[in-house]
């Protein structure tokens, strides 16, 4: 059961990150086309309309989508100076505390992002040039934020398991 959860969560985090990366690469290509177009204005070409807005919304989507992978791989910067001094058990407890805190943060981020999205939706706020509604960009970001909540919930379980299960059973 745990193995299935682990594989599933890992896959989900990976999937989100790759999706974010593909969007990022898409933005790179779009930006290069836009620059080329801008340089060739005399030839009747032009920049991609609203390129800045696309970069902002797209990069936001990517970063939201990157967050779960970073949490799943324990990639966040921390100070490991005294790690050895705490001993095995204390370190496991600290991992659990950190993962619970991250879960709370992820939950609050997703929840507030949803409310922020509703604000934008109700006011029909749009971007300056493309006139697309900003709530859509929030909604895109919400995908990553939701995955982040799921993945950080799993990480709490993972740390709990590390405390209560003997190492010999962990590999099984």
């Amino acid at each position: 059961m745990y193995q299935m959860l682990n594989t599933g969560t890992g896959w989900l985090a990976r999937f989100a990150a790759i999706l974010g990366g593909i969007v990022l690469i898409g933005l790179i290509i779009m930006t290069c086309l836009s620059i080329t177009g801008r340089a060739l204005i005399p030839l009747g070409l032009g920049p991609v309309p609203g390129d800045f807005e696309l970069v902002e919304a797209g990069v936001a989507f990517s970063i939201f989508a990157f967050m779960p992978w970073c949490q799943y791989t324990r990639g966040h910067a921390r100070v490991d100076l005294f790690q050895a001094a705490y001993g095995k058990f204390a370190n496991k407890v600290i991992d659990l505390i950190a993962d619970v805190m991250m879960f709370v943060a992820a939950y609050v981020i997703a929840w507030r992002l949803y409310l922020g999205m509703m604000d934008k939706y109700n006011y029909h706020e749009t971007t300056f040039i493309l006139q697309f509604e900003i709530w859509m960009a929030y909604a895109a970001g919400f995908f990553g934020a939701a995955v982040f909540v799921i993945v950080s919930a799993f990480c709490v379980l993972r740390s709990l398991r590390a405390i209560f299960i003997k190492p010999s059973e962990l590999t099984a």
């Binding site: 990366g21 593909i22 970063i63 990639g75 910067a77 100070v79 950190a98 943060a105 507030r112």
Partner: protein, 440 residues
């Protein structure tokens, strides 16, 4: 408890959380939110802020450079350009005593021009240069010390992720900061080469010279690195001349390195996925810290601590240079245990108002550029100082047979070179600002 006291107390609490290994960004978020709650007596402030803060931070146009530069660095590692750079440097420097190590520094500097991350530079150049250094009989401490120190050139020589963050925090022009970083970056490379020249003479048998290569070979090797030169000129030249924004430049750079990687056959689907996942990891890490620092700093602003401490320092009548010395010393000490980005995000909002209120005999903008470059260098020293210098560990994992204590020893002279350079740049601000004056 007054608001100011709450602000002061937040520091020990934050440090405790950080030192018990809570992720730094998360610790800053928690203390920021908790502190705001204590000041206001309700969570309304934080909860209201959170509605748009996260999306606002992630969609910030200037910050969007960060993932783009990171992906660019990943593609650069796969492009095989590191090999060409090392060969070119070796053909010019290899015949000097300690020349292979100097070539590694030269190649790191070249790689730093297309990569904005120290760890990626150390890792990439380590893969190319470590086997060569060992093959020519360079000693373990010198080989690993050289590469760990050379890695810091990745961030000293523009493009540089930390400068982007500094520019946003202090509302400075990113292009001007990149210009200002250029001469100090070159000085760093020269300084490291001098260290090697002295090292091989003081410690006999630590590194030898190769046969000199004919000039025809040298120029051939130099011409072979044209993609690096082209990408650097496109990215940095484009930013300097204002043809495109720094974010666009990062996109152009990522496209350029990606294209070179694709053509050289270094890029297949699996490698693209790996590049994305590494980028995702670093991006997630950086943005959690940016988010946490944003919350922590807005809490500090509520307590008026930054303004009050700036006022306090001013009233004490300290010499500006003494204050600068203390600030730099603090960075060096904290750099030993904290990562550079967290340090910049955490301290610049506090130190910058203090420093700008002091009179260093230059304009506000000039001061901001100069201070930024010096801070960049001192926080980067943290990457090569024990106990938690990340570059040391990156190199250590590549050279398992060399104990880390030897790497510490080999890096010490380079740290000394860094400190000397900081002192020189601090005493003569015109070194940093000359190119800015010339171009703007």
């Amino acid at each position: 408890m007054s608001n100011l006291e709450i602000g002061l107390w937040s520091f020990p609490v934050l440090l405790i959380l950080i030192f018990i290994r809570i992720p730094i960004g998360l610790a800053m978020m928690a203390v920021g939110a908790g502190g705001t709650y204590i000041v206001f007596g309700s969570t309304m402030m934080t909860m209201g802020q959170m509605k748009h803060l996260v999306y606002g931070t992630f969609s910030n146009y200037s910050l969007s450079i960060v993932p783009l530069f990171l992906l660019m660095g990943q593609f650069a590692t796969l492009s095989g350009m590191s090999k060409g750079l090392f060969k070119a440097a070796e053909s010019w420097l290899g015949h000097l005593k300690g020349g292979v190590a100097m070539s590694a520094i030269g190649a790191c500097a070249g790689f730093g021009a297309i990569c904005g991350s120290s760890l990626a530079t150390a890792a990439t150049m380590g893969q190319v240069a470590l086997p060569e250094l060992r093959r020519y009989g360079y000693s373990g401490p010198l080989a690993t010390g050289t590469l760990a120190a050379g890695g810091t050139l990745g961030i000293l020589i523009p493009p540089s992720v930390i400068l982007v963050i500094y520019a946003i925090l202090t509302e400075q022009n990113i292009a001007k900061l990149f210009v200002a970083a250029f001469i100090p970056g070159i000085l760093a490379a020269i300084g490291y080469m001098l260290v090697i020249a002295i090292y091989v003479r003081v410690v006999p048998g630590s590194g030898d010279a190769l046969e000199p290569q004919p000039y025809s070979e040298r120029f051939k090797a130099l011409i072979a690195v044209w993609p690096v030169i082209l990408i650097f000129l496109a990215v940095v030249g484009g930013i300097y001349s204002g043809i495109f924004t720094p974010t666009e430049a990062a996109a152009v750079g990522a496209a350029g390195t990606g294209l070179v990687a694709l053509i050289s056959g270094g890029l297949n689907w699996q490698k693209v996925v790996n590049s994305i996942l590494t980028t995702a990891n670093s991006t997630g890490m950086i943005f959690l810290i940016v988010l946490g620092a944003g919350m922590f700093n807005s809490f500090l602003a509520l307590t008026q601590l930054p303004q009050t401490s700036a006022q306090w320092v001013l009233e004490q009548g300290f010499s500006p240079w003494f204050v600068l010395f203390c600030v730099l010393l603090l960075y060096l000490i904290f750099g030993c245990v904290m990562d550079s980005l967290s340090m910049v995000l955490l301290t610049v909002p506090i130190f910058f108002p203090i420093m700008t209120s002091l009179d260093f005999g230059m304009g506000t903008e000039e001061f901001a550029l100069w201070f930024g470059i010096i801070v960049l260098i001192v926080v980067e020293v943290g990457l090569i100082t024990p106990p938690v210098g990340m570059n040391l560990f990156v190199i250590n994992t590549m050279a398992r047979d060399i104990p880390i204590s030897q790497t510490f020893r080999g890096t010490a002279p380079f740290v000394l070179a860094d400190i000397v350079r900081v002192a020189i740049l601090a005493m003569f601000p015109s070194i940093t600002l000359a190119l800015v004056w010339l171009i703007y």
